[in-house]
Structure formats: structure tokens, C-alpha cells
Symmetry: C2
Amino acid sequence: MYPSISIIGAGNVGHHLTLKLHQQGYNIHQVFSRKLPKAQALAKQVNTEACNHVEEINREADIYIVAIKDDGIASMAEQLSFLNQDHKIVAHTSGATPMTVFDGHFENFGIFYPLQTFSIQKEVNFEQLPFCIDGSNTQTKATLTQLAQSICPNVYDISDQQRNVLHVTAVMVNNFTNHLFAVAQQICKEQQVPFEILHPLIQETTEKIKHTSPKAAQTGPAIRGDQQTIERHLNFLNAYPNYQKIYKMLSQSIQDLHKNL
Amino acid sequence: MYPSISIIGAGNVGHHLTLKLHQQGYNIHQVFSRKLPKAQALAKQVNTEACNHVEEINREADIYIVAIKDDGIASMAEQLSFLNQDHKIVAHTSGATPMTVFDGHFENFGIFYPLQTFSIQKEVNFEQLPFCIDGSNTQTKATLTQLAQSICPNVYDISDQQRNVLHVTAVMVNNFTNHLFAVAQQICKEQQVPFEILHPLIQETTEKIKHTSPKAAQTGPAIRGDQQTIERHLNFLNAYPNYQKIYKMLSQSIQDLHKNL
């Protein structure tokens, strides 16, 4: 028997998880969001009930997936602690929040964290993303692992400590990388060069690391020690003092990392 | 009549350009590299003559493409100045070197710069990459543009100043981005978390900007102002003081860029 699932939170992650679990044949028991229209829009897509008050969340599901903002998880756990009367499983989807946030509220709790950047509009390829699972006990971990495996082939057993490492490094490879794209776009726009010219290079940068380690794939003036080019770039970046600092720091860091080769 | 072309330099760019031009039906007249075996290996693939002394480069080609290291271009220009007797076209493939490096040596000179990261082993998709062209006069620019268009659909007329902008921003979106991948890999390795878990996120990061501007695509604790998560990350990065500095600086930069929204 498939467990029935209630989804707490109708943001990017809650949205895509709900659709995927429904599509996979799970019964979505309730969809909760503080914003009723959001809960209703999502609930309608999976033929279930929407609610926007925590008191409306009932005890009839088997698994409760909390997919809300990080800073709301602790207080949500407190409000959901009545679920422990029936030994329900409560799991959250946050990369940033320790599993221990549930300590003292539940007996069976865990992590159900799909490591990917989600947008409401864009379909998610569950074949591609990694699922990080943890659980307060063997049975809970097994149940959450099975649930993840039924919608995704790449399921990992990841401790709080490992998840923290993944979250810090995810910020680096996603948020910071994207910011560098934004900086490049701003400069191109202000200098009247079409940013699109850089698109193929950006695609190739990530294409490369499918086959080569990023350390081995490193190119550019910093690793070549091409001081003349670095100076010309820094000179240009006089107009952008903050980006000049970033340029210096990252060039130095490239040289430091490869000094130890 | 297709012009005949001599290639000066058998590195990554020279290698791929030679093969592509040959495949497109151009006669490759000579291949030069200081390292004779390298010149020979490439020349053999396109049924032509290899040489490793500048004096062996003859006057029989129509266009000379200089694809050598940036800091060798000025001296190569001097040594090739005899080509100007026949008004030959000489172009270099560097993103970092101004066209003016050829001033005083030739009358017909220009830029033939494919903006992409090349590896000898990996085939280059000329359908995807942008070609940046410039020329010392209308006729030269037209000839180089035609040559580029015959092997690539995306040809841009780019001035020295614009090429400098593209080169700085290319360093940001390629070299720096790749370095962040390398940093993440190092941390994952040392913390015994498989770096491969981050691969799908990395791919999605660049996939996203095909449809969304990077500024609009920004996510993460910095843009959310999630100070608690930032603090936990910085705390973890105490073990990596240099990466902690990068984390702080880029988080600040994200917040600065979006403050002005």
C-alpha cells in the first residue's frame, strides 16, 4: 500500500514534489499553504483538499512533508507535534536546516531533500536530481528512502553534517556562479556588448566538468600567470571597484589552489 | 575562389580551426609550430606542409592566422612583416590582445577570435560558438567575416574595446565559475561527500539562463537575506579561511546588486 502524504508548503519545492508524487500514484491527502489561493491552485491539480490554517491539518495522512521557508520549520514542528500521538512521519525538504529541528516534537522524523534549484514554471527532471535522505530511526529512514526511490533514481543517505557541506558548496556552484553571470551581464549591458555572445562559453564550462575534474579543466590568465592580461582586466575594472575586488580575490584563489599541485 | 590559409600555431585554437577550415574545403597552405612534431601531426591531418622556423613561413598563402600565446603575438608580427610586401591579410585569434598589436607591421590585418574554451581532445561545435571579427579596413574585415561565416553561423563585428569587455566577462563566467566548482570539489572531497551529487545542480544553473536572465534567476541565502544560514555556512568555512572570504564577498555582492532593484 502506498502511504498517503500531506504537503505543508506550496512553494517551488512543495509544488513540484506534490505533482510528482501524485503522478507516481500517491494519494496527496492535504495541501497546506498560508496563502489559500496558492494551496487551492496546487490542491486542485492533484484532486485534494487545500487549507491555510495549521489547525486544519489533520491526522489522516501517513507522511507529512514540510516544504516551507527555513526559518519557519521550528515553529511549524511545534504546531504539528500533535501528529506524534499517531507516530506519524514528519520530514522537511530543507538543505539548510538540521534534522535536529524536529527533536522533542516527533519520534519518527527525517529529511526529504531534493538538491536542485526549482522554479514554479519550469518542469523538474526527477531522473536527474539527487535526493538526500535521513531519518531519526532505521524504519523512518527506510520509508523515506523508499518514497524518494519511487520518484527518483539517485537517492543518497546523507547526515546533517554532510548535508551542511552540500549546502555550502551548492551555494558556491549555483548562487555564486549565477551571480558571476549576472555581473557579466551587467557589465556587457553597460558596455553595449550583447551578453548572449557569452552563452555558448557558459554552457561549455559546465559541459566540460561532465568529463573532466574542474581542477584539471581550469584555464585563463590566472592559472597561466599571464600578469599582463590580468593587469589589463583590472584596469578595465577600475570602473567597477567591487567587481575588481572579486576579480583579484578569485584570481588569487585560482593561483593558490594550483600552487599546491 | 577560396583563399588559401596558413596557420601559425598548433595549440588548442590552431588545431580546431585548421581541421574545421580544411573540412570546409579551404586549402591549408602551411602549419607552423615551434614544436615540429606538433606542427607535423596537425599538418598531416590536412595534407599540408609543417614547419617550425618562422623563416620557413612563405608568402604563398592568402590569409595568415596567428593562433599563438598572447605574449608571443607582437614579436611574431615583427617577424612576419615581410608578408606586407604582398599585402597579405594577417589576423590573430586572441581575445586578450588588441588589434593594434599589428600596427606598423601590416596594412591588412584583423581579428579572427572564436570565443570558446577549447581542448585538443574535445570536438568543437562551430554551430554553437560566437566568432568575433575586426579588420584594419573594410575589405579586410569583409574577407575575415566571410571566412568566419563559412564555418560558423554566429559572427560578430567586435571592436578592440568590446573584445576587452568580452574577455574580462569571459574570465568571470568561465574561469571563475570553474574555480568555484574546483573549490566545491575540494571541500566535498575533504569532507567525504561525493561531489557528483552537485552535478545536476551545476547543469541546471546554466540551463536556467537560457530562458531567464541571471539576475532574475538568483536564489539562495544571500538574496533572501537569510542571515542564519549565512552564519552557519561561514562557521563551517572557518576551516577554509580563504574560501570564507570569497563566500563573504560574493554574498555581499549579490546583496548589493539586488539592493538597486
